[in-house]
């Protein structure tokens, strides 16, 4: 109890501690939002507008090809349904703490409450979120889908998620982050602690679709054990005020592997400060970090960091940034650090416009300039993400087509 009190004191002290990167938000400007939202058990009964909001972040209301679904609106869990009860556990974090006494052993272990004001706020509010666990050896064939939705104006949504993939299990999670129509200003603070145990695989896709005045400060750390695999796809193609994230993967067991794909578009007025960090703490671990970002007038900062602390570690970092406007900024910051001798870390970074000869090559095949740019942009952003519903793919295509039109 004394430890809890000490931590609480530290968190309170950290409420004024700005994050290392990104715009500093004043937490006092935001409220907790709605507390009594309940969604239909059958999500197909939702309004067309609500369904469209979900679809645009990869969440299918009909739950086709999904093992289970969870929706959080503001700071309330509004819906939970689980179809593959044998293969996976899905519930709110608060419920998980009632069901499993050991859940607290996984909370605030990878992320410190006093890391910055956003983690402190989430800690002090005892943030709820989702708890997903794949039991040992279980391989759920279909992904779990979750949606974190800001439903009220001027809300600070604080989320705490825990994912545990036990030994030899495989799990896929698609999380969509969005705002309800008409919500312009808001703040999303998300703590995600993920544990990929021995020989397990976690495939995690996060799709953002925020609004112009939303600030987003996710804090994610993933712990990967021996021969574990963590694959992440981080997608943000729509306008947002500011996202600052620096997810960190700790490769703690021999043979552990991670691949982090980031695809992002910085629209005018948006600042995307998206990093990825991998720390190789065990032998023969490997990682691939791929960042493909576009600016159409906003600021895009791609930080990629690999820190090698164990022999046999191999990693490659790729930061490619397209500049499609004179007003935008692309900044690629690759960092490689080797602390032992037997290590191979490499990076390639490039920022610039689309080569004119590529556009004209496609134009010579009969495509218009807009379509040619669209095709190149689509190819640039295609990192082979699986399980995206057709509706979201169509929405992504539409966004890319607009980028093509506006780039001329």
């Amino acid at each position: 109890m004394q430890a809890d009190a000490d931590m609480r004191k530290k968190a309170e002290d950290a409420l004024g501690k700005s994050a290392a990167y990104g715009e500093d938000f004043n937490l006092d400007e935001y409220s907790a939002g709605a507390t009594d939202v309940r969604y239909e058990q059958n999500l197909t009964d939702l309004t067309e507008e609500d369904k469209r909001t979900l679809l645009n972040v990869g969440f299918t209301p009909g739950e086709e090809n999904r093992s289970g679904s969870l929706i959080m609106v503001d700071n309330t869990i509004a819906h939970t349904s689980l179809h593959d009860k044998d293969g996976v556990e899905l519930m709110s974090l608060r419920d998980a703490m009632k069901v499993h006494s050991w859940v607290k052993d996984y909370m605030w272990k990878l992320i410190k409450p006093d890391a910055d004001k956003y983690t402190a706020m989430s800690y002090l509010q005892d943030a709820n979120g989702y708890f997903i666990r794949a039991p040992a050896g279980k391989k759920s064939k279909m992904p779990i889908q979750t949606c974190l939705l800001i439903g009220s104006k001027q809300v600070s949504q604080t989320v705490h998620n825990i994912i545990i993939v036990e030994e030899g299990a495989e799990l896929e999670v698609i999380t969509g982050c969005s705002t309800k129509h008409g919500v312009e200003k808001g703040l999303h603070l998300g703590i995600s602690e993920m544990y990929v145990k021995k020989g397990a695989t976690l495939n995690f896709t996060m799709i953002h679709n925020w609004a112009d005045q939303i600030g987003v400060r996710p804090r994610t750390v993933v712990h990967v054990e021996e021969n574990g695999k963590y694959i992440s796809n981080y997608v943000t193609l729509k306008p947002v005020k500011s996202i600052q994230a620096y997810p960190t993967v700790l490769l703690e067991g021999k043979g552990a592997f991670t691949r982090l794909n980031t695809i992002a578009v910085a629209h005018p007025g948006s600042e995307l400060d998206l990093g990825s960090r991998v720390i190789f703490n065990a032998e023969d671990t490997s990682a691939e970090l791929i960042s493909r970002t576009i600016t159409t007038g906003g600021v895009s900062i791609a930080r990629g960091e690999m820190i090698g602390n164990a022999n046999g570690a191999k990693g490659h970092l790729e930061c490619h940034g397209l500049v499609l406007s004179d007003k935008g900024t692309q900044r690629a910051i690759p960092i490689l650090e080797a602390n032992v001798q037997n290590i191979e870390l490499s990076h390639e970074a490039a920022v610039g416009r689309i080569a004119r000869e590529q556009i004209e090559y496609l134009m010579a095949r009969g495509l218009t300039e807009e379509d040619a740019i669209g095709m190149i942009v689509r190819g640039f952003l295609d990192v082979g993400i699986q399980g995206i519903p057709d509706e979201l793919r169509a929405d992504i295509d539409e966004t890319i087509a607009k980028i093509g039109e506006n780039a001329i």
């Binding site: 496609l362 134009m363 010579a364 095949r365 040619a372 689509r378 190819g379």
Partner: protein, 248 residues
């Protein structure tokens, strides 16, 4: 089909083409000979409208319309198509996706892809890691899918191994003539083309109608393609230059 009048072109501030006159009638396949650096590729790139090839004077008339200032897309949409020597890599753009967008007859494209062994490249990014021969086959497949009326072919046989030249030559011939075997019929229904060749090897597979010799950015001579090729092989291009000087 195509008429080039007194065309002068600069590339990177250097005058590469000087007052070129050239004509390709409907259904004709004309050949462009010339030494390295003569400006043959520059002429083809200029005809397609690529940036960096600045027309200083003269005009390009295509299907009766002055296209000198039209965009690359507009020229392609009017029925012009090109196979360049060194196409750019298109990372992320899969060959199959591009073919789907440009194919006028998808079934025919698939069949051609089978016959020239390009199906296995469908999921590859266009030109990325392709060998010289693979690039030519990919370009030819794209051109066939696009099915233009007028083809600009820049050294279609270069970089292709001897065994594959026959396949490539026959494919080009089919693309140009489709089913027209009769020369008269070809003029009415076949396609037109302007082909650059160094070695003349491709002439073993396609029927050509007229040859032009380009030296130092100027057309030196024109005439029967086979006769000209054998003359060049015997005398070299220097004789063409001397001959032209004599005329002046």
């Amino acid at each position: 089909m195509l008429e080039i009048n007194n065309l002068t072109v600069e590339v990177g501030g250097r005058r590469v083409l000087k007052g070129v006159d050239l004509k390709v009638d409907a259904g004709y396949t004309n050949v462009l000979f010339g030494p390295n650096g003569a400006g043959k590729s520059v002429l083809l790139m200029t005809l397609m409208g690529f940036s960096g090839y600045n027309v200083i004077s003269g005009e390009i008339i295509f299907k009766g319309e002055d296209i000198t200032r039209l965009s690359v897309s507009q020229r392609a949409q009017m029925g012009m198509g090109i196979m360049t020597q060194r196409p750019p890599n298109l990372s992320g753009v899969r060959l199959h996706d591009l073919l789907k967008v440009i194919s006028k007859d998808p079934k025919e494209t698939e069949e051609l892809a089978e016959s020239i062994d390009m199906v296995r490249f469908f999921d590859r990014d266009v030109n990325v890691g392709f060998s010289g021969g693979e690039i030519k086959r990919s370009e030819l497949l794209q051109l066939s899918a696009q099915n233009p009326d007028f083809l600009l072919l820049d050294e279609p046989e270069s970089g292709v191994d001897l065994a594959s030249i026959e396949l490539l030559g026959n494919t080009i011939n089919t693309l140009l003539n489709r089913d027209c075997k009769c020369p008269g019929d070809r003029c009415r229904h076949g396609k037109s083309a302007l082909v650059i060749t160094h070695t003349g090897q491709v002439l073993d597979y396609i029927e050509t109608d007229r040859a032009y010799i380009l030296c130092n950015g100027t057309v030196m001579c024109s005439g029967n393609p086979r006769e000209m090729l054998s003359e060049i092989k015997e005398q070299g291009y220097e004789e063409c230059i001397k001959c032209k000087l004599m005329q002046i």
